[in-house]
Assembly symmetry: C2
């Protein structure tokens, strides 16, 4: 056995052993564990941020904000675990007079799937990593988590797992490192679901592994997304220069290393913003990328896109201004007409990093025809003016291609709320009904069980009529 895969077996055995205990915790107990994890992050923020910055170069300000977000997520899932509405309890009382046949007493609730695997993200060392949203939602659901560490921040991963171990029962949160361990995790019979944030290629390979198991399991992957943004003629006329500045800021935020980065900006072809686009992008300071592998992939993809005969370059200094040692990369801004994008679907690929394509359209028809060809995205955005009804009717098409529609704002920055959906049709995710951000993320780790004709004493606590935990019960 490969040493990495034997680490996987140790981790999944520990997770399997603790699973019934974690599942049986009262809501307040599970909530307390999540609040304790938030406390651990609070108490060690400075050390963790220092370590994360060494490994990811994301900067202490951004990382401190990310720790805060991660703590808010843990607290939100503590609230959710305590409230118990996520259990989706439905009670049908027996009905001897039901048509066409009498009905037994049937009560349904959601139960945890069992041990799950979480593949952490390079670009969010806190919010989508060891104690990030996947882990918080899985623990809230009652599922032990085995972390597959991202190679971009292995030391931070181990330190965070070690801190979590001071407040969690053994086996609730373990970690494995290395590609082989990750593959062994996805195929381990003990693992009941997988959460993943990363590339389309890597995610697809693991999705395929999960689907080919003798007993297949759900694989929740958040993969690549183009996040198209449309500027209407009225918005262009009203505030074109302001939109350009906001666009460049959104493309280059965190060096473009965000899954919601706008990869396509649709501008009316009569725009006169080419100079401003070039000037604004030139003012962006290069900062280090997450690591050499991200930098190399960015350069290769950006160079391929820029070299495409249908594409013109607004700004690309890939070959001159960056340094091999710090992996600093400058932004890439390209442009082409909408009809050329339709003719070259090979251009419809995510370039992870500070790159984007300005797509110019001649008419509403030209725009709509192009939007219909786009692959699935996490987000779809329109900058417009209210009252432009005809031009805006295409917004309905956007919702067919994305999981979040945004009006007069930018897709980067995702609110962590009850209503948020961070998902979308393939290749944005492997499962469009599910989200990795927001309260509904807990649904990924649960399945229903119905109890028929079961005496109160044998029912799980949330289904009991006396309802000692005061779980919301939908009665029919």
């Amino acid at each position: 056995m490969h040493p990495d895969t034997s680490a996987t077996a140790l981790a999944t055995n520990a997770a399997t052993a603790v699973a019934p205990r974690l599942a049986a915790l009262a809501p307040t107990e599970r909530g307390a564990l999540l609040r304790a994890l938030s406390g651990v992050l609070h108490d060690h923020t400075d050390d963790l941020v220092h370590l994360a910055d060494e490994e990811t170069h994301l900067g202490t300000e951004r990382l401190q904000g990310e720790v805060l977000r991660t703590r808010v997520q843990l607290q939100m899932f503590a609230d959710i675990a305590e409230e118990g509405a996520y259990l989706d309890v439905v009670i049908d009382h027996a009905d001897a007079k039901a048509f066409p046949v009498p009905r037994p007493d049937v009560r349904r609730m959601l139960i945890p799937l069992g041990p799950v695997a979480v593949f952490t993200a390079s670009n969010f060392p806190f919010a989508f990593s060891v104690l990030g949203g996947d882990t918080a939602s899985a623990l809230a659901a009652g599922c032990p988590v085995v972390i597959k560490a991202h190679e971009g921040h292995p030391r931070l991963t181990d330190v965070t797992v070690g801190l979590a171990a001071t407040v969690l029962p053994a086996g609730c949160l373990t970690v494995v490192h290395g590609r082989e361990a990750g593959r062994a995790l996805v195929t381990d019979p003990a693992i009941q679901a997988v959460g993943f944030t990363g590339s389309t290629t890597g995610g697809r390979a693991l999705f395929d592994l999960a689907a080919r198991r003798p007993s297949p399991i759900p694989f929740y992957g958040e993969l690549g997304s183009l996040n198209p943004v449309v500027v209407t003629p009225a918005a262009l006329a009203q505030r074109g220069a302001q939109l350009v500045k906001q666009y460049i800021a959104s493309v280059t935020r965190s060096q473009g290393q965000l899954c919601t980065k706008p990869g396509l900006l649709f501008l009316p072809s009569n725009h006169d913003l080419s100079e401003l686009l070039a000037t604004e992008i030139a003012q962006v300071n290069s900062t280090p990328m997450l690591g050499p592998w991200i930098s190399e992939a960015y350069r290769a993809t950006a160079a391929e896109l820029a070299a495409h005969p249908a594409v013109s370059t607004i700004s690309s200094t890939l070959t001159t201004s960056d340094s091999e040692h710090t992996h600093e990369d400058s932004p890439t801004l390209l442009t082409l007409p909408a009809h050329d994008l339709r003719a070259h679907p090979e251009l419809l690929r995510e370039c992870f990093g500070p790159a984007s394509i300005v797509v110019t359209y001649d008419s509403a028809e030209d725009l709509l025809a192009t939007l219909k060809e786009l692959p699935g995205s996490l987000t779809a955005t329109i900058h417009g003016r209210e009252g432009e009804d005809e031009q805006l009717s295409q917004s309905i098409w956007f919702t067919q291609r994305a999981g979040r529609f945004i009006w007069n704002d930018w897709p980067t920055g995702v609110a962590v709320t009850r209503a948020m959906h961070h998902g979308g049709p393939w290749p944005a995710t492997t499962s469009s009904p599910h989200t990795s951000v927001g309260a509904a993320a807990i649904n990924r780790w649960l399945r229903p069980v119905a109890y028929q004709g079961t005496p109160e004493a044998l029912l799980p606590t949330p289904l009991q009529s006396k309802n000692p935990w005061s779980i919301p019960q939908s009665l029919k």
Copy 2:
């Protein structure tokens, strides 16, 4: 192109064309379509039942009951479409003071996935076929349906589709026949999800096709299930003879051609019911099976199980009492000790038809050790007496292996209610969080979209603050 696959392209093109119109219908309009379908069944019940009996031999009484159930399902999904709670509308109002960052207005609802495929079942020519629960829930969700006809009742299928066409817009419900057409359906880029009821082998092959698509889609398959039933020592002592009669009735109902047939009965090994089991099973009249392919599979599997060296036969007259022409088969009742079942996992397979195995256990430990080895099932049943706390503690293990737990009743016969869950871990289904019976079946055909900062005039009607359809809205 194979002629069958060209029929698939015609059907999916029609479904794609009508999808936006079906999705945009108001709740009352979609409800009216479903009620009209129920009306069509009502008006043609006698003719349809006659045709169904010719093709399936299930008997007119059973089939009339099934039509009634199918109509009740259509009416339930009409209610669900009209109420709109299934849209799961959540509204987070903007909050400029939110911690750690201000929140935009975010509103989420579920939207239909688009055209879906439904593979109909041999054993429920109405309730799991053209106008069955899969179709009713998909249409209620706003998804056009392409039916893959089961070869067991092709004429009934075409007649029912034709009747439905008198009340549905063109493209909402179409049908294809043949294996190649079915495979083309699962891989057609227009199809966004698949519902399937059938064998583990056939379901797995189609699941694999769906997972290997360039853009994978959810495959909701209800496959094979053992449906273990435990009789406790106290229940045996109290009412052993009565339980035997009920067991035989449950095993042989509809000739055992039910996905919830109890395939394993766990009895204390000191039972004295062997003679009664043999007498009761001998009194069951043979009736025709659904078709020659079911009959052949039943005989082959039952013969293999009976020939296993660890297994003893209580009753098996496979080779003598049935006729090649009408495909009548007699029941098969086998028995073995629990420890032998643990030693021979190859016996843990569904035998579709009137076959079951009596598994004798020596102690609670012997029982529990065996239950832990069982594959996923749709149901898990205990016949016991309240107060037997120690013996009953294993009920918790049952819920780890099934989607419905039943106390002092039999798994055959599934109530169509809000709380019902008809699903379970692999191989019972391909997706344990989903159900093919009950109100929650609609969830299979939907995905969420969040709308951020969107003006009232651009919001879909269910998300508007003025809420003209009076959809339940969860406000935070």
